[in-house]
Amino acid sequence: MSIKNSSLGETNLDVFAKTLMDLADHDRNILVTTSDSRGSGKITPFAEKFPEQIVEIGIAEQNLVGISAGLAAMGKKVFTVSPACFLTARALEQIKNDVAYSDHPVKVIGISAGVSYGALGTTHHSLHDFAALQAINNIDIVAPADNFETRKIIQLAVNHPRPIYIRFGKKAMPNLHDPSKKIEIGKAIQLTPKHKNYDLTFVAIGETVAEAFLASQKLDKEGIKVCCLSLHTLRPFDEAAIQEVVSNSLAVITVEEHSVNGGLGSRVASFLMQNDIFRPMLIVGIPDDHTVNGNQGEIFRHYGIDQQSLYLSALKLLHKGKRNDD
């Protein structure tokens, strides 16, 4: 197994912007709303090609989300594009009340998510968005791993009947998938060959999937059977996939570019515990800490979210699991 086409793709952000251009060509009801964020969202070409399909709100994220909900209520297919940090903190109440609670299917697009903004610091990081939105009813939560997932999910989002939050970063991502694959919102994708049993399962989301996948390949070379799941959708949560693979694994590691509190890891743990699936488990993400300063790669390494650390953590966890069995 190797990364398909073993190629480095574009940034998910670029793929998002291009996909939206293609879609808008056929659907004049598609609107983009921005908060002085078209440059960061790579939406400038869109704005030039479809000047009638973009609404600029200025640096006013609360207003941005409120207006987007109103536009959606009138039948517009609104993609609200702004940095994930501001959208899901500053405008959280608008997301909760005007979008989710009132059930207007706005597509809330959080760009430069997680720690993509690196050394711009905590104001610009979104390590709380999964937690905040998971505690709010009626908004789906998606973080595509690579260009393929991004393209497909944006295509599916256009006519998605519910509010949806999609977040991604701005780093070029390796291609992880065979482009002929099917993808559904709410269905995890297994990146590694299927087996009956696994030594270890990685459940990862967003840009950490590539790191988990590379760690899986390394472990595979050492004869360790690994299942690597790209759980691009946190809600609806794919219970069936998690149940199936974790039940057949000795241990599980979750990986996310998010706080270890309230994100993917705690969601998986809560599901497993309540369904009597008890396995040695590690939740990898950003700990409850003043996030270290650095670029995204440095922050990943600092907190063990990079492939090498994941590889080592896997060995350690398996060793611990074995000892417990003795």
Binding site: S37, Q62, C85, G118, A119, L120, G121, H124, N293
Partner: protein, 287 residues
């Protein structure tokens, strides 16, 4: 003004104008070396910071714990390079610290944080500085202190609703110890502020909210010194200064050019920029 005083104020202006050039060099060097930063907005507001820290506010590395000193909040946090340049000159930290800017594990990140000596509040998300400053000004009033609270906001930042909420509070509590300054450079990331979202007439809006409003050339040291001397502009009203500035001020090809919001100079642009600043220094000396 007597001749002596006039001579003295010319001396002060000259000294600060030299400092502004030095600060601009620090800003350009910092952004060039670290390959990151907000160039245009740092260059537009640096003269204001210069006058505030060197002439108006009583904030020094030695009085940080004094309860009656002034306070400064950098609401347009992305222009942190300007603040670093001034704080470094005042001796809050040494120049070698700047080599860690935006590096792994450094406290000198791309926005102001309290991990850096001299910085009082973590900013970077726009539209927070004014509310925070209102809180500080209110506390100073409660304790009957005479210190003042200063904050600089961007003109694009003014679309954040929180600024208008804070403005209502500032007037309601008669905070004439609050000095809110708008870096009116007419640009934000996407383009001209009035094209992105028209906020004019700003003067009338601020007046209606209850501020005492003044205008100043925000890149003119002399004018800045004079305007801040008049604080409080009107007793019982918060002070608002619309500082008309040029984004990218001081480097010909960066001036009023939207591309320089957060562009990093290439090698040759860096050299040209530094040459222009050397030239400005020479012409200043010849005056």
């Amino acid at each position: 003004m007597s001749l002596d005083l006039q001579f003295l104020s010319h001396q002060i202006e000259y000294k600060l104008e030299r400092k502004s050039i030095e600060y601009r060099k620090s800003i350009i060097k910092l952004i060039y070396m670290s390959k990151a930063g907000h160039t245009g907005g740092s260059l537009s507001c640096v003269d204001i910071l210069n006058v505030l820290y060197n002439q108006v506010m009583n904030i020094t590395p030695n009085n940080v714990s004094a309860i009656d000193r002034d306070h400064y909040i950098h609401s347009k946090g992305h222009s942190v390079e300007a603040l670093y340049a001034v704080l470094m000159d005042l001796g809050f930290f040494s120049e070698d610290k700047m080599s860690t800017f935006e590096k792994y594990n450094s406290p000198f990140i791309g926005h102001p944080t309290r991990n850096v000596p001299g910085i009082e509040q973590n900013t970077g998300a726009l539209g927070h500085g004014l509310s925070f400053s209102v809180g500080m000004a209110l506390a100073a009033k409660m304790d009957r202190r005479n210190n003042k609270i200063f904050t600089i906001m961007g003109d694009g930042e003014l679309t954040e609703g929180s600024i208008w909420e804070a403005s209502a509070s500032a007037a309601h509590y008669h905070l004439d110890n609050l000095v809110a300054i708008i870096d009116r450079n007419n640009l934000q990331i996407t383009g001209k502020t009035e094209k992105v979202m028209n906020m004019e007439p700003l003067h009338e809006k601020f007046l209606a909210y209850g501020y005492a409003v003044r205008h100043v050339d925000g890149n003119d040291i002399g004018e800045l010194i004079s305007i801040f001397r008049e604080i409080p502009f009107e007793s019982g009203k918060p002070n608002l200064v619309i500082a008309h500035t040029i984004k990218g001020k001081g480097i010909s090809f960066m001036e009023d050019n939207v591309a320089w919001h957060h562009r990093v100079p290439t090698d040759s642009e860096f050299l040209t920029a530094m040459q222009e600043l050397e030239q400005a220094e020479l012409s200043l000396e010849c005056q």
